[in-house]
Every structure is written in structure tokens, then in C-alpha cells.
């Protein structure tokens, strides 16, 4: 079976980001999607702390400590970008103005419930940040994650057993095995990477998958 490397999943997501899209990339792996968007597409990245038009990392020595992204990394601003406060930034998110949010996930359910902010370990100090606002607000939520946990347990389940980030919010799941759409009929495989059969992927999935339409 073919398992993509994380960078390859990011590249696969990037292929689906259209020209002119307003996009928020979650902290961690989703941030890498920006590295693979084709040069002929102009994509405007949003950072929830209050930036539209996030540019690449600054040259060493030119960092502005005030100019960071949501992952607390130094960034730059593209020409045409701008700044705003946190309430306006979340108004943008919650108000449905972002075309796509790409988020990591612990689990996704059959109806697109997302669990990506907490585990069931109550001894671990919590943090939620902007995850719940992105989940309910973006026009489309794409999840980018490994298909299974490290010990090969499915992360795509009938019901999430981790605390939810949002109900029925995920539109599409990009894993290291396949691309899966959340539809009214259920989870439908959109794309099997070369070398993977529906049966292989189904075996690592906790809920029935529909074949590509």
C-alpha cells in the first residue's frame, strides 16, 4: 500500500487550492501547504492573529518581532496584505469569508465532525485557540492528517470519541492513503493514490466508505 509522506499530502492539498482563494492554514503540517501551491496561482493567506496576505519567512536578521503568524513564527506581509485586530479577524472567520481552512485532526466522523483540540486525557492542560471558529466559519474545511494513529488505529470513525471541535464541519479529508469527501450520503472516496485499493483503505477506516462517484 502507498502511504504519502506528510509533505506529499500537503502537496496534494495544495493542488486543490484555487487561484484567488482566501485560505487559513492551521498550525503545524497544514502550514506546509503554502510551499506547494503552484506559482501561477495567487492565494491570499489569513493568519488568525490579524493578517491577510501573509508572505514567506523573513530573511534572517530582518525579522520584526511583532509580525508573527498564528503558529508564532516570524513572517512577512505580501504587497496587498493588511492588518486588523483579533475581533475583526474572527469576524472574517466566523462570518464565512474564508474560502478554505486546512486543519489537522485527531479524528473525523462519518458526518464530518472534527476533533482536533483535545484528547481524553484530562490531566493534560487544555488549549483551543482559533480551531473552533475556523471549523464553523470557513466555507470549506479541509482536514490534512495521517489516515491512522501511530499504532494503526483508524482516525476516521462513525463517531469521534475525542472532544469535538465542531459538528458536521469537515468537507474533505486528505490522508496519506486517499482523499475522501464528506457528503450527504456519507464518506465518499474522491481519490485513491496509485497502488491503494478501496479495500486496503477501508480496512484502516472505522466507517464504511463509498466508492468514487
Amino acid at each position: 500500500m502507498q502511504r504519502l509522506e506528510p509533505e506529499q499530502i500537503a502537496q496534494r492539498v495544495a493542488a486543490d487550492i484555487p487561484d484567488g482563494a482566501y485560505v487559513n492554514l492551521g498550525i503545524g503540517l497544514p502550514t506546509m501547504v503554502a510551499n506547494y501551491v503552484p506559482d501561477d496561482r495567487e492565494v491570499i493567506y489569513h493568519s488568525e492573529n490579524g493578517i491577510l496576505g501573509v508572505g514567506p519567512a523573513p530573511e534572517p536578521g530582518t525579522e520584526n518581532p511583532e509580525l508573527i503568524n498564528a503558529g508564532k513564527q516570524y513572517v512577512t506581509l505580501l504587497p496587498g496584505g493588511c492588518y486588523f485586530d483579533n475581533a475583526e479577524s474572527f469576524a472574517m472567520m466566523r462570518g464565512g469569508h474564508l474560502d478554505i481552512a486546512v486543519l489537522g485532526a485527531f479524528q473525523v466522523s462519518a458526518r464530518g465532525d472534527l476533533a482536533n483540540w483535545a484528547t481524553n486525557n484530562d490531566k493534560y492542560p487544555p488549549a483551543v485557540g482559533g480551531a473552533m471558529d475556523l471549523a464553523v466559519g470557513a466555507k470549506q474545511v479541509f482536514v490534512l492528517m495521517r489516515h491512522t494513529t501511530k499504532d494503526d488505529q483508524p482516525k476516521i470513525l462513525e463517531q469521534c470519541d475525542y472532544p469535538l471541535t465542531g459538528q458536521a464541519v469537515v468537507k474533505r479529508i486528505y490522508t496519506d492513503l486517499a482523499v475522501i469527501d464528506v457528503t450527504d450520503d456519507g464518506l465518499r472516496v474522491r481519490e485513491l493514490y496509485a497502488g491503494n485499493s478501496l479495500e486496503d483503505v477501508q480496512a484502516l477506516t472505522g466507517v464504511r466508505l463509498l466508492p468514487p462517484a
Binding site: 491577510l52 469576524a91 469569508h97
Partner: protein, 227 residues
Amino acid sequence: MIDKTIDSFSEAVNDIRDGDTVMIGGFGSSGIPLELIEALRLHGARELVIVSNNAGVAEEGIASLLRDRLVRKIVCSFPRSAGSIWFERLWERGELELELLPQGTLSERIRAAGAGIGGFFTPTGYGTRLAEGKETRVIDGRGYVLEAPLPADFALLKADRADQWGNLVYDTAGRNFNPIMATAARTTVVEVGQIVPVGDLNPECVVTPGIFVNRVIARKENRHAAA
């Protein structure tokens, strides 16, 4: 390349349909997109619901839409002004529905629609005629009225300058309702004095980020200077 510029005023409004809700920026004579309103009038969509602070004076702006009987309803805080003859005439004849709102409730409802808020409690209007029929609640001893978000199909706005990404800056008090209406419409169309290249606007001074804007068009008299 993202370029939200369009060249034709008629094209800027030609997908507005009968029955649509159209927000129109402006306060008094300031910040009104007069050329877009004229384009809408010529386009001729009917049964419109207009959301605006005022209802136009003389034969100008929104008054011209009223005169041509294109408007079914107006959502407004201050429809009557010196010279608001078409509003008064149609209202007195019962030919125009009016939803009258306190100005801060009007602007907060517009903001709520743009910000994904499902409703909010405002103290404004509590215990007055304008709260009749609305849900109320006493919170910490103070009376509040529940108000719903107010979204629109289109927003027709005026700004001073735009870039091709749709970032906007305004001229003094010309902001008024324009920045919030930009956030609340499915399609936001902005008439400006000048369209400048991306990167020309100071990112610390952009008032309306381009994400809220779908189309920008330079006024005809400024078109040459803008080129």
C-alpha cells in the same frame, strides 16, 4: 493574478435580481455610491429591499429608485430628511414598506451578519415602540432587545481608493456604513475615485480588507486619472 477591477457600471450590477436585498452605503450626502445607484436604476431590478441609513433626497440616489418604483421595502434609521419627497410620498400612500431601526441597531445588525453572529442583545430601544414584538431580556438588571443579523445579496458602496485586491480606504466621514456593509453582502461592489496598484495602500491604514470586496470600479470622471 487577482484583479477585482471591472470597467462597466452596468456590468457591475447586472446580476442583481428582482426581490434582492441591496445595501447602499452613505450617511446624508457622504459616502454614497451615486454612480452604482444610477446603474442599478437603469438595470431596473424591481421589488428590491434597500438597506441604508437614509432614503435619499430630491431625485437623487435612493430617491431615484423609489421614484421609479423599484423598491418594495426599505430598512432604515432616518428615512425622513429635508427633501426626502419620494420616501414621504410613497410612505404616505402605503406603497413602501418601512422597517425603522435605531441607527446603532441597524449598524450592529449589519456587522453581526458579516461576523457570523446569530443575534445579539442591545439595550437600545428597550421599552420603546421600536422594540414591540421583539424578544427582550433583563440581564444584570438592565433591559435588552434581541436583534437578528441583517445580511444582503448585494452591497453597493463608495470608497476613496481601492487596489486590485479590493482593499479600500475612505475619505474622512465617507466611511459611515460602507465598511460594515462590505462584510455583510454575498456580493460587494465598490465605486471609488481611483484604483491603485496592489502594494500602494499602506497596510497599516487599509480600512476594508479585500476579502470583503468582490468588484471595484472607478468613477467615470476619475477613470482617466486612475489609469
